[in-house]
Symmetry: C2
Subunit: 445 residues, 2 copies
Amino acid sequence: MAIMDARPGRVRPAPENFLTDEQIAAVKDGRRDFLRKAFLTASAVMAGPTVARAAAAGDPAILELPPWSTSLGQSVAANPYGMPSKFERALARRESPGLTRVGGSSVAFTPLQGLFGIITPSGLHFERHHQGWHDVDPSQHRLMVNGLVKTNAVFTMDDIMRLPSVSRIHFIECGANTGMEWGNVAVPTVQYSHGMLSCSEFTGVALKELLDMCGADYRKGRFVLAEGADGSSMTRTIPMELIESGEVLVAYGMNGEMLRPENGYPLRLVVPGVQGVSWVKWLRRIEVGDKPWASKDEAVHYIDLMPDGQHRQYTSLQECKSVITTPSGGQLLLDKGFYNVSGMAWSGRGKVTRVDVSTDGGINWRQARLETPVLSKAVTRFNIDWVWDGKPAILQSRAVDETGYVQPSYGQLRKVRGTKSIYHNNAIQSWKVAESGEVSNVQVL
Amino acid sequence: MAIMDARPGRVRPAPENFLTDEQIAAVKDGRRDFLRKAFLTASAVMAGPTVARAAAAGDPAILELPPWSTSLGQSVAANPYGMPSKFERALARRESPGLTRVGGSSVAFTPLQGLFGIITPSGLHFERHHQGWHDVDPSQHRLMVNGLVKTNAVFTMDDIMRLPSVSRIHFIECGANTGMEWGNVAVPTVQYSHGMLSCSEFTGVALKELLDMCGADYRKGRFVLAEGADGSSMTRTIPMELIESGEVLVAYGMNGEMLRPENGYPLRLVVPGVQGVSWVKWLRRIEVGDKPWASKDEAVHYIDLMPDGQHRQYTSLQECKSVITTPSGGQLLLDKGFYNVSGMAWSGRGKVTRVDVSTDGGINWRQARLETPVLSKAVTRFNIDWVWDGKPAILQSRAVDETGYVQPSYGQLRKVRGTKSIYHNNAIQSWKVAESGEVSNVQVL
C-alpha cells in the first residue's frame, strides 16, 4: 500500500508548525537521513507515548507518563472565551510590511497554509481597511435607507435583529488577492499570494427585505449605494439584480457569533461572489438610485488596466480560482513518499464542480476529491493523494465551476488581461518542489 | 405588511446584549411605553446616524459624526489573532456552579441564546472534562494502535497529518445535555438547558485508514477502545460498524484551525451522531478487540435508569432534537409585534427533514424554514416569522429526521424512560412568554 510504503514522508503543515529551526536546517543542508533517524528515535523514546510504547512492546507496565496524564488539569471556563494552543501562536494574520504607508489602510493576510476545511477561523479572517478599524458601539450604530424609496428609514441594531434571519456560508476575496503576481513571482508563501481570502457562515437580513419595507422603486432604482461608517466613508455601487436575487445580506453574524470589529461589527454588507471591497463594513447607509455612483473606489481604484491602456470598470465578480495550500511555498517535504495534497477552490458564479491537480507542471492532471459540503459561492476543500519520488515536481490545481468556466493558466489570462493589472488575477498557481524538498513559488505560463 | 406593522417589537438577542439593566427594569415594572419612547428618541437623536438623520430629513449637511467616522482607526493585524468586540464580552461559556466539586471535572455551557447559524465559534465550544484540560505539546503527543491488528504502530502528529484528509461538519452533544430537566424545570436559560451542544467543521483522518494500515482483524475485532491522554484516561468502546462506515475521524482540525486545547488538542476522536463522551480528547490509543470494554464511563456513568429500576447501557446515539434559542428563557420581548423565532435542530441518525413550531403550547404547528446547508449529523438552523399579540404564549419546536423519527413531548418520553434518567433527554422544550414579555422555562407534557 502506497501509504505504508511511504511512512517516512512528512510535510510541515505550516511553516510555523512542529519543526525546530535546527531540523529545517538539517534538511536544507542535505542531512535528511540524520533527520529521519532523529524522528524515528523520537517516535520510540520521547515522553508522550510511554504507555503506548510499553504496551506495543507487549509490556503492560506503565513506565513513565507525561505530566498531562498524571495531574488535574485546568478548570472548565478557565477561559470563558477560548483561544488556540500556545503551540499555534505563530499561525497568525500577517501584514505585508511596506505595502502601504499606514497600517490602518493596509492588508493582513490569512495563513491559508495552516488552515483546514472551508471555514476560516474568525480570528484569522483577512483584513483590508481604508481608514483603520474601530470597535463600534452597537447601541449607537444606525443604518439609514434613503433615495428612491417611499419611506426613508433609520434602523437600530435591535430593529434589524428581529427581522427574518438567514444564514449562509460564502467566501469573501479581496479583488486585489494575488495582485502582486501579475508580472512575476512576487511573494514566497500562499499566505501572501492568496491570503486575502476567507470563508464564513454569515447571518443577517436580506437587503431586499429592508428595501421592501421602505417601498423601494425597483423600476427606476436599478442601483444601490452602500456606505460605511469608518473614516474612509467607503462607498460602493451594487447592482439591484444582485439584491433582487435575495443573496445580498445586511449581516451581523459571522461563524455563529457577532461580526468581529475588524470585519465590520456590528453590521456589514455580504455580496456573495463579488470582491470584498463591496462587502461594506460598519454599514451605515443604503441609497437606492438610478445609475452607478462612480465613487473613488470605483473610478480610481478597483479597476483593471488592460493591454491597450484602457481601464475596465465595475468588474467586481470573482471568477473561478483555486490554490494548493499544502504543500505550498515556504514549506518543506522532509522525505519522498506519500503526501496528502490539499487546497481550496471557489467561484463567484456558483458551485465548484471539479478540481484537477498536476504534479508535473500541467502535463498530466488527476481529479481531486471534493470535501462536503460543496456550496455556491463558498470555498470548497479538495484533497488528493500523491507519492513524491524525490525528484523536482511542479504542483498545480485547476478548478471548474458549474457554468463550465475553467480556471486559466497565466498564459491564457495574460493574452486577455496583459501584465499590468492589480485586480482579479485568478490564474493557476504553481509550486515547485525541489530535490531538497523545499517548496517555492514559480510561474508556469 | 406584518413586519412594518410590528416596527416597535424588539427582542434581546441574548440576555447580555444591547439593553441596560435600567431598561430591563423599566419593562419589568410595566413601564414599556416609557422604554419605547426612549428607544424612538434614541433612534432619532443618538450620535451614530447623524449623517443619516440629516440626509433622511432632506438636509445634506453633516451636523456631527461619531468618533469612528472622523479618525484613523486601528491598524491591520493590531490583533494577529482577533477577538470579539468588547461589547460582546458577556457572551461567554459559563460553568454551572456547584455541579461538581472540582472545576476540572465540570461543565462549561455554550451560550446558544446569542449564537446564529450552525457553526459554533471555537472559543465558545462547550467543555466537559473529567480531569481538567492541558495544552498538550503536539511534538510529544503519540497515538498508538494495538490489539487485534497485524502490526502495532505509534503515530506522531506529523505521521497523521500527511495521511488522506477529510473535512466534515458535525454536531457534538454531551449525553447529559438537558439532563437536569427530566423531572422538573431546573434551569432558567437555554445556555444551561441545552448548552452542551456545539457544531463544527472537523478535519482529520478516517480511523478506518489507520486500522487498514495496521492490518486490523475486522472479522474478530468488532469493537475499538479509544483512550485519552488526560489524567482521567477516559476510555470508551466504539462499535466497529461505525468505523467501517468511514465516518469516525481521528481529528486534528476544528473550524479551519487546530483543535483548541480544551477540546482535545492535538488529536480527538470524532464519532458523528454519538454522545460527546465517546469523542475521546487528547486521543493516545486505539485498541481493537472482540467485545465491549465496560469501562467506568460505560458501566457506572452514561447509563440510563429506566422506570423498572434497570439501567440501559451502551445507549450512545443522540436522537433527533431541537430547541428554540431566540426567544428563550431569560430573554425579554420589549413589545408585541413581529419577531424572528430561531432555533437549532439535529439528529444522530442523519439529516433533519422538517421542524415545526408552535406558539400556543402544541395545539397548532407551522413549518419553519431550514437554512442551508442541511447536513447529516449536523446542526440545522431553523427560522420562522411570528407576530406576538401581547398575550401569554408558549413556544415549542419539534424536529423530524430522515428516518421519520419525530422528537417526542415530555409526556411521550417519560412513558418510556420515566423521570430518573440523566442522559439522552431529547424532549420538546417549551418557553413561556408572559404578558410582561418575560420568557421562562416551563414543561408541557
